[in-house]
Structure formats: structure tokens, C-alpha cells
Amino acid sequence: MEKRLKVRQIKDKLFTVVMALFSIAIILPLFFIIFYIVRNGAVEIDWHFITSLPKPVGEIGGISNAIVGTTELIGIATLIAIPIALFTGIYMKEFEKSKLAAVVSSLTDLLQGVPSIVIGIVCYLWIVLPLRSFSLLSGSVALAIMMLPMIIKSTYHSLKLVPDSLKEASLALGTPYYRTVMKVIVPAASSGIITGIILSISRVAGETAPLLFTAFGNPFMNLNITKPVNSLPLLIFNYATSPFSDWQKQAWGASLILIIMVSALNLASKIMEHKWKTTY
């Protein structure tokens, strides 16, 4: 009896230790990635690096066009994705039992599984070929398509947490259905919805593949949506694969900037989630 109890206690301890070990193992690669990027990238970053345009090999340039380009791509992609995804997510929750919602739900899952490079090709066919130019617009659409399933899902799941009693309370006051949804149900789910949007932005901020033949890249600053535009992942890809050691070093700097941007978004989503959390 005594002995069996001892064995069980040891098993318990072992189990806890194994769980802790794997949790630490998860942190390690992330730690090394960040350590490496900071060590190689931090020396590259200064005001000049952030604010000036790329220069030919031999001169010290910056990555301002890529920072602005990434911001433009993400901004336009978000503007395209939010209304579509929001209404789809609301529809999926509100008409959960309908056939259309079931079809949309499984297609959303499917869309999430489509490789990003394929989405890039599709946008090339849809937008780049008809307009006869690589463009900011086509890159934004490609990113927007990638964002859709993520925002749809987070919207749907956030709305599901809102109790039906709130909807009844609103309808019982004589509120029309659309206002009940937009003024009562969606605001009650807003922290989850906004968190989902921010996370989807940070997820696509580092996408390279769908931009290769849409946004294409551009050594100059571009604010025109019909012209090609540079982005941080594209710049990193081009610089890191180039034979010039200056450019390779700058790729580290650009990587660090990208990681800082993404981490800031993640942090913002955490704060948002905490601050705007609705208690029912």
C-alpha cells in the first residue's frame, strides 16, 4: 500500500516535470530567433535606416519605402477585409441553422487552408493581368483574402459568447433587428472582434509569397494603388538572397523592424482584450 502510493506520487511529479519541460522547449526557439535578430539587426537600425530610401550597392540606404509600403498594404487590406468578414461572421452566427451559413462556414475553413502563394497567383490573374501592372491594390487584395477567414472566425466565436438574453432585451424594447445586431450584440462582442482583426493583421504583415507577383516590390516610395510597392517581407527576401553583404545586413535590420511592428500589434491586442472585455 505504502509503496503504491509512493509510485503514484513519483508519477505525479514526473508528469508535472514533463509538462514544464515541453513548455520551456517551446520558448527556446522563439528566444533564439529574437536573440539572433536583435543581435544582427539592432546595429543596422538608426534614424537614417528608417527614414531614407534604398540606395545602390555601396551606398548606405534605408528601408522607408518598405515600411510605408507594408503599412499601405495592410491598411488597404484591412479596409477591404473588415466589412466583408464582419457581415459574414454576423450572418454565420445569426442564421447558424441555415444551409448558406453551413456552406459559408466550411468554405471559410477551406479558404484558411489555401496556400498563400496560390492566393497570390489568383490575384495576379484577377488584378495584375487586367490592369497590366503589378500594384499595391493587387497585393492588398491578396492579403485581404488571407485575413478573411481569420476575422470571420473570431467574429463568429466572439458573437457566440454574447448571451441571447441581450438580444431579447433589445428586441423587447421594440428595437429593429438590424439595430439590435449593430448596437447591442456587436458592441458586446467588440473586444473579441477587434482582437481577431489585430491578430489577423499581424499574421499577414509578414507574408511574402502572395506579394511576390502582386505588390512585386519597388525601390522607390509609392503612394499610388495602381503601381507596384515594396514591403518589408519582400525587401527582406530580396536583400537576404542578394550576394551583397551590406544588403544582407540590412535584411536583419528590416527583420527586426518587422518583428517590432508585429509584436506591437500583438501587445495592442492583449491590452485591447483586457481593457474592453465585456462582463455579462
Binding site: 432585451a169 433589445s170 428586441l171 423587447a172 424594447l173 429593429p176 439595430r179 447591442v184
Partner: protein, 252 residues
């Protein structure tokens, strides 16, 4: 019969093919409290939800018969307009979590985009909270979230929200079921105050509560109206054997 604010005539309610209410006939006089009593599953909540057309929100719900509000069939009117005239308070307090106390009270106007001057809405908020006996407790915290209040206070906030629309009838669907005894007795006191100025219909499975708050009582049993009369009469000399058995605790 000028005083009949609500008349229910040959009324049937269904979920799909299941008949929930059968041939209900009732007359409610103005500015009284009426309680609807009965064992669970007897259809009392369904009857209440039919009165402000919330029943039809379920996918397969249907009705037959008439409910007349001041002589006009509510099923011939826009449900939204009916719901503004017949307020409802639910079993579980459900203040709007994203709104502060002030906005919760005035929510009926805001959500219906009824424009009010600041002074008007201030007045409505104060009056409604005073009527709901909550004003003294929240007057300094009007701009705090309603969800920070206690359960009983939240329920009174919901009553204030319904009263703010100046409805003809207030429906309470087991409004004290989730509250502690103290909060329950406060709500009951409130019903007794309010019933002089508004018609109140209370659904309850608490027999003692029906006796304490209502002037008239309707007893429902498996979808049928068994008995309706003055609360005092129904409780002392019930005409039907089933009413007597329910009131004495033989079933239910």
C-alpha cells in the same frame, strides 16, 4: 368595458405542431397587477411572450386567435410598436453590458433612434430610476457600467429601462427567480407601488408571491386556463379542484 386594457380571445400558441396554449380567454383591467400561475411547462411564459409578440421570434412558432390591446389586435400591428407599448423584464437581469446606467435606462429611445433633448432624457432617466426605486443608490454613479450593480439592482435597472418607454403594460417573466429573498421582497414592494399607475402582468411559480403582489390571478395547467379571478377569491375558495390541489401543494 372601457377599463379592459388587454383582452385575449380564443388564443392558441404552437411550437411547430405542439400546442402550447389552448383556447385562452382573459380580460385584464387597467392599472392592476395580474399574476399568471402554474406548474412549469404549463405555458405561462409562452402566454406572456405572446402578449408582446416575443413568442414569434422562435423559428417554428405560430399562433391563432386574438390579443386586443385597448381594443386593437396586436397581431395587426408592427411588433416593434407593440413591444414599445408593452415592456418586458426577464428572468435573469440583462442590462446592456456595454452601456452605463444612464444609457441603459434611455436605451429604448437610443436604440429606436428617437431623438430627445438632453433635459428630456435626463428627466426620463431620473423619473424611471425613481419609479424603479434605484435612483438613490445610483444617482452618483450614473455613468458607471450597469453590470457592476448587484443582481437585485440590475433587475431594477431593467425595470427602469422598461418603464422609461412609458409602456401601457409591464410584463415580468419570473423576474425574481434569480434573486435572493431580500432583493425579491424589494421587487415585490416595487410591483405593489407601480401597479397603481401601470398594468403589470407577472409570471411566477411562487404561489406566495402571486398572493402578495397581484389583484387578479390566472391559473394555467398544461396549456389551458383553468381559473381566473380576484386573487383573494381564487386563493380562498378556488372553483376548480386542480387549482385547489396546486395551491395546497399537491402537485407542481
Amino acid at each position: 368595458m372601457e377599463n379592459d386594457i388587454l383582452k385575449i380571445e380564443n388564443f392558441y400558441a404552437y411550437y411547430g405542431t405542439i400546442c402550447i396554449l389552448q383556447n385562452i380567454n382573459l380580460r385584464f383591467t387597467k392599472n392592476h397587477a395580474i399574476s399568471i400561475l402554474g406548474p412549469s411547462g404549463c405555458g405561462k411564459t409562452t402566454l406572456l411572450r405572446c402578449i408582446n409578440r416575443m413568442h414569434e421570434l422562435a423559428d417554428d412558432a405560430s399562433i391563432k386567435g386574438k390579443i386586443l390591446l385597448s381594443g386593437k389586435d396586436i397581431y395587426d400591428t408592427e411588433p416593434m410598436l407593440i413591444r414599445r407599448r408593452i415592456g418586458m423584464v426577464f428572468q435573469k437581469p440583462n442590462p446592456f453590458p456595454t452601456m452605463n446606467i444612464y444609457d441603459n435606462v434611455i436605451a429604448g429611445y437610443k436604440l429606436n433612434s428617437i431623438k430627445l433633448k438632453r433635459s428630456e432624457s435626463d428627466k426620463i432617466v431620473e423619473e424611471s430610476l425613481i419609479k424603479a426605486d434605484l435612483w438613490e443608490q445610483v444617482r452618483d454613479n450614473l455613468y458607471k457600467r450597469g453590470t457592476f450593480l448587484s443582481g437585485g439592482q440590475q433587475q431594477r435597472l431593467c425595470i427602469a429601462r422598461a418603464l422609461a418607454m412609458k409602456p401601457d403594460i409591464l410584463l415580468l417573466d419570473e423576474a425574481t427567480a434569480s434573486l435572493d429573498p431580500k432583493a425579491t421582497s424589494n421587487i415585490e414592494k416595487l410591483i405593489n407601488q407601480l401597479k397603481h399607475s401601470i398594468t403589470i402582468i407577472v409570471v411566477t411559480h411562487n404561489i406566495a408571491q402571486a398572493a402578495r403582489v397581484s389583484d387578479y390571478t390566472a391559473f394555467l395547467y398544461s396549456g389551458e386556463l383553468i381559473e381566473f379571478g380576484k386573487t383573494g377569491d381564487l386563493f380562498t375558495i378556488p372553483k376548480d379542484k386542480r387549482t385547489e390541489e396546486y395551491l395546497t401543494g399537491k402537485f407542481g
